[in-house]
Subunit: 474 residues, 2 copies
Amino acid sequence: MTNTNLQKELAALIGSDKVITDPLELKYYSYDSSFEAKLHRFNPDAVVMPKSTEDVSKVMKYAYENNIPVTPRGGGSGETCGSVATQGGIVMDLSPWDTIDEVDMANMQVFVRPGVIHGKLNDHLSEFALFFPPDPGSTRMATIGGMVANNSSGLRAVKYGATENYVLGLEVVLPNGDVIYTGGKNSRAVKSVSGMNITKLMVGSEGTLGIITQVRLRVWPKPKARGIALAIFPNLDDAPATVLDVYQSGILPSGIEILDDSAIKAVNLYSPELNLPDAQAILLFEVDGNPASVDWEGARIAEICKKRASEVEWATDPARMTALWKARSVTATAAARVRPDGSRIFAGEDISVPLSKVTEVLRRIKALGEKYGIKVVNYGHIGDGNVHTAPVIDPECEAEVAQVQKLTDEIHLLAIELGGSTTGEHGVGLVRAKYAYLEHGPAVDTMKTIKKALDPKGIMNPGKLFLMEEDSNA
Amino acid sequence: MTNTNLQKELAALIGSDKVITDPLELKYYSYDSSFEAKLHRFNPDAVVMPKSTEDVSKVMKYAYENNIPVTPRGGGSGETCGSVATQGGIVMDLSPWDTIDEVDMANMQVFVRPGVIHGKLNDHLSEFALFFPPDPGSTRMATIGGMVANNSSGLRAVKYGATENYVLGLEVVLPNGDVIYTGGKNSRAVKSVSGMNITKLMVGSEGTLGIITQVRLRVWPKPKARGIALAIFPNLDDAPATVLDVYQSGILPSGIEILDDSAIKAVNLYSPELNLPDAQAILLFEVDGNPASVDWEGARIAEICKKRASEVEWATDPARMTALWKARSVTATAAARVRPDGSRIFAGEDISVPLSKVTEVLRRIKALGEKYGIKVVNYGHIGDGNVHTAPVIDPECEAEVAQVQKLTDEIHLLAIELGGSTTGEHGVGLVRAKYAYLEHGPAVDTMKTIKKALDPKGIMNPGKLFLMEEDSNA
């Protein structure tokens, strides 16, 4: 079938206003925020923008009958080609379907459609003194559907966990178009152990098992206070040792971030007014809770940091907190400044290692950068070992592109070698699928068994999470 | 095959010291702590007590080849016949395999074998200033393997969630004897989104998908302080309204318990020295955290309670906390005192409803009790709507047994009608399997698809969670 015919048939199903036909508009769907999608564009055959469960069901029934791959997409902020139709077919853009159906304050939960933007949801919830704790850096782009599909998190995962901890139920359209509601079909319970836990199976399945059309999220009372501590460490090894001491003192901060010397250098080039000292590591702690708790924990964290840090500052004043946090908030942008013609790329960029291996991984990534002649800027969520490594290259230079691919491959392998994970929060998508067996061993066969059972025709976002036998020939 | 032959073959596989043959000892495995198992004993054909993954794998391979059902069992503290061989076959008693393999303090996690008792694990972890937050009432009986299989929790779930929030990885022996490790085969990462989330699929699957042989748990810094508030409410409706006000003030207590008038009466009969006032509800709040936080939250909770309560007391002194909590800690035992010849039975005993429906459910359960002429004592975890209803009957009286079965059936149906769940924390097992479609609708078919894919011969704990086609003929 030609793309034009496919588009016509889809328009007949759900309405021409929900089907994109303009070739220029279609191009927007050929990439996400990953480096891989900068190297290879993947053009979909058609893009639909459903606005109801019925729309989604109709498209899935049609795709199922005609063996057409379907790739669901939210904000397109992913770094893994997860929402890109790498094997063609239909992209289902759920971002326009962005209704907050209900804030059920009495039951501390919210019902949303998949396209609701994370930041907008939390803006709305704050009117009810509630919040949804996971906090991706892409808060102004990421959709709740995408967050559920990727089990997203961010810097507060160390205290609050990832999206999965908050998903009470999901409406899911299955590959054949059937609709189920997980977690109880009419439930508003916040606690239930009834039935097999397919809610959590769907969370993080990256669109490979079905399309999420409604999310029932548990939300929490919004903390009234927060504070920030910044500590500067002449020696890298003192940073994780300090984190462990904070845990041992009974404190679980809402965020613990690290900038190593590469990130400090980048930030000083980008924001020279910050004038960060020449140190091996900066730690930033965020604590939240009630005002008394925040003061108590801030004082204790400062005291613990002083054992090893050359400078420590603790703040609860909003302006001063913003100033202290600025080193961290500009890092992702600043990274590219480590060379004049540099671009920061998203590849091998969110490995996770045990806390006990953080210094080793930072040192070995530095050595790998030197081996391949590529600068790498390191920062991230040290509290749970989730390190962001930002290679900075000239993406127009083919030789550098070839080198950085070897480098990021080694970074992924290093994470596995050190007892970590190839991805702490961004997901697998296309780009980490090849590491599945190395990281998970025979458990991948169990995943494949489930995939085949729930998606027997293999039409749901094929080629993501792990390689099926047919993908290697694709 | 006779039972004797089966036992001989199993002894040949894993050693006769790991196979129970004494008929009296076998009887111990014919029941759990449920009322159902008091009415019907289910004798297994054989019981094995494996002590290694290899043992488990050998037994599963054998069972798979010979189509023999296998029912895993931990402490036997379940209330649903979940660990009882309701269709015969082999019971696999994992409780003797109780090694804490490693406390990895640097990475805030612990590796345990399935038989480790919850209370013993937390005793051990406290030496490292760590704790595993879920807290079942059966802490001195329940095993970690059983807790994972049932996604157990307890009164602190309102703040800390259920067991699933802490499971980082699992070693699982599949029905055919193959062994997988979920969450990364050599991982000590605390944060990972790599691969399909089969870890969480296994949590709460009640032994229907495989045998859990090792658990990798995330543990948390142990809070340094706690406090208890007790508030007495002349009007039942004021109890959930107060809970909601506490949430709105930004506080998430570690426990919020209710005793309604039926429970107050029972406690006064059992512990007259407590002399609880004649009220419609008592609320107990537990808060934990750092000392400053606990003081702040305690003062605020007391202030909020005073708006509606006739009496409020807040305590952080250990002896006084124990005294205040005593009304709650004796309730389960006290329930039977509401009639001289009464026994409290575990049936329909842990429904969960939305917080907004708590008063309605308590009133309607009282009316149902009157309809069937059975006293019901109500208490439980109001913070997340998880209500314990304790019918008190003479279990030797056939007429009462018949009536209580109708009553508990109506309690389960009422929970579903009110947008709740048939089970907040005890699980489905045999006794709630019949409500699966009513509670979950077509999602049950998805559960069955997964069950058939992972356990094609249907030998893993058959008849639990939901009824397969073949179960109705069993």
